[in-house]
């Protein structure tokens, strides 16, 4: 894959790293890069801290690329940082958000898996850690969080695509994310994670059909957020609690963040609904990102206004 970084194309890991450096160099007053850890294969895990520099403010943690083959997810994180920095001072809402909030954006969580999906196996999902007593590689990072981690009997086979790992937070990538969020918990008011595909906006819980105490609040935010999303190209998203909207899942980042105390956590399952699946053509990246941006800006505005 030739050429340089482009928001309208899929970028391999090297391009994304150089893009992070470029964003910091271009917007030093708005963007800084934090290395929050490294992966099993010693690739760096970078978070971009986006927002006007100054005293600590309410923050939202956004991550992309937990599952390697879901390429449109990292594309959205790059787009978000680009749009935020580009529209600061021009777009009233974004300017207000960046003046009063901080966004921690982790463009790719599963770096090793993402690289593998570029170089070896486009259909790869898990990370690339080796499993004891098994020739099967990888853990599903979204089953590795310490929340109802071992409640599903079906996630303890290393050869499964949804293998939860040998222990909660066993993976360096998971540990890096959880350590960072725990150490910034007093400011982080929302957690938003991006996956694909199937066009859904999901919120807790996945590990139980029980509804969280602020279910009606989450439902309202998701309803309006999906309305904003569909306002651009009429892309229809369904929304609801994970367990009843799709199926029960254990060990997910969403539930973990919620039970840690972040009471507004959402998971986007981006385009499409299966015509292309994980192979969304590049020509659809920008419309996907533009419509999702409307949704995320609404959620951020809501968090700014409605959290203490």
């Amino acid at each position: 894959v030739s050429g340089r970084h482009s928001y309208g194309k899929y970028n391999d890991w090297d391009k994304i790293v150089s893009w992070t450096e470029k964003m910091v160099a271009k917007h030093p007053e708005m963007v800084s890069r934090i290395k929050i850890g490294s992966t099993v294969e010693d690739n760096p895990l970078y978070v971009l801290k986006v927002g006007r520099k100054g005293k600590e403010r309410k923050a939202i943690f956004i991550d992309c690329g937990i599952h390697a083959r879901e390429w449109v997810s990292p594309a959205f994180c790059q787009w978000f940082v680009y749009q935020a920095t580009k529209s600061y001072g021009k777009n009233r809402i974004m300017t207000k958000l960046l003046d009063r909030m901080t966004f921690y954006v982790l463009p790719v969580v599963n770096v090793d898996g993402y690289i593998w999906s570029w170089t070896q196996n486009r259909m790869w999902r898990k990370n690339r850690s080796k499993n004891q007593n098994s020739t099967c590689i990888g853990t599903d990072l979204n089953r590795n969080f310490d929340v109802s981690w071992d409640s599903s009997p079906n996630t303890n086979d290393p050869c499964q695509e949804v293998y939860r790992g040998p222990a909660p937070e066993s993976e360096k990538e998971t540990k890096a994310v959880t350590n960072f969020i725990r150490s910034h918990l007093n400011s982080i008011k929302a957690y938003i994670t991006f996956h694909s595909y199937s066009q859904m906006l999901l919120f807790p819980y996945g590990y139980t059909s029980k509804l969280p105490p602020n279910h009606s609040d989450l439902l309202k935010v998701a309803r309006i957020a999906t309305d904003f999303l569909s306002s651009r190209y009429e892309t229809h998203y369904i929304y609801g609690p994970i367990a009843s909207t799709i199926y029960p899942t254990s060990g997910s980042s969403l539930d973990w963040a919620y039970d840690l105390g972040i009471k507004h956590t959402f998971a986007f399952e981006l385009r499409d609904k299966g015509k292309f699946g994980f192979l969304l053509p590049e020509s659809r990246i920008k419309p996907t990102c533009k419509e999702t941006m409307l949704s995320v800006k609404f959620i951020a505005k809501y968090i700014l206004k409605n959290t203490s």
């Binding site: 486009r122 259909m123 079906n154 695509e161 899942t249 299966g274 990246i285």
Partner: protein, 94 residues
Amino acid sequence: TAPVRFDREKIFRVTPVDEKEARVLKDLAQIIELDFWYPDATHDVAANMTVDFRVSEKESQTIQSTLEQHKMNYEILIHDLQEEIEKQFDVKDE
């Protein structure tokens, strides 16, 4: 090593109408390697759920004949996965 290729691999979409049909899919997953795209894993397959999965060209015949034998509706979303992988890069370098 050369990247994995997915020549003529197919993506099937099946919506089991009841637990019996869901069971057919789960049994197929026991004997043929299916890569579930949606839901994430075999054990999440349930009645009235849209199920997407990837299967090799060689095994796709068995899948089709089994589904037809059980009179289960299905569609093939992608007929040649490798082709789609190459087609996703449809934006020229700026």
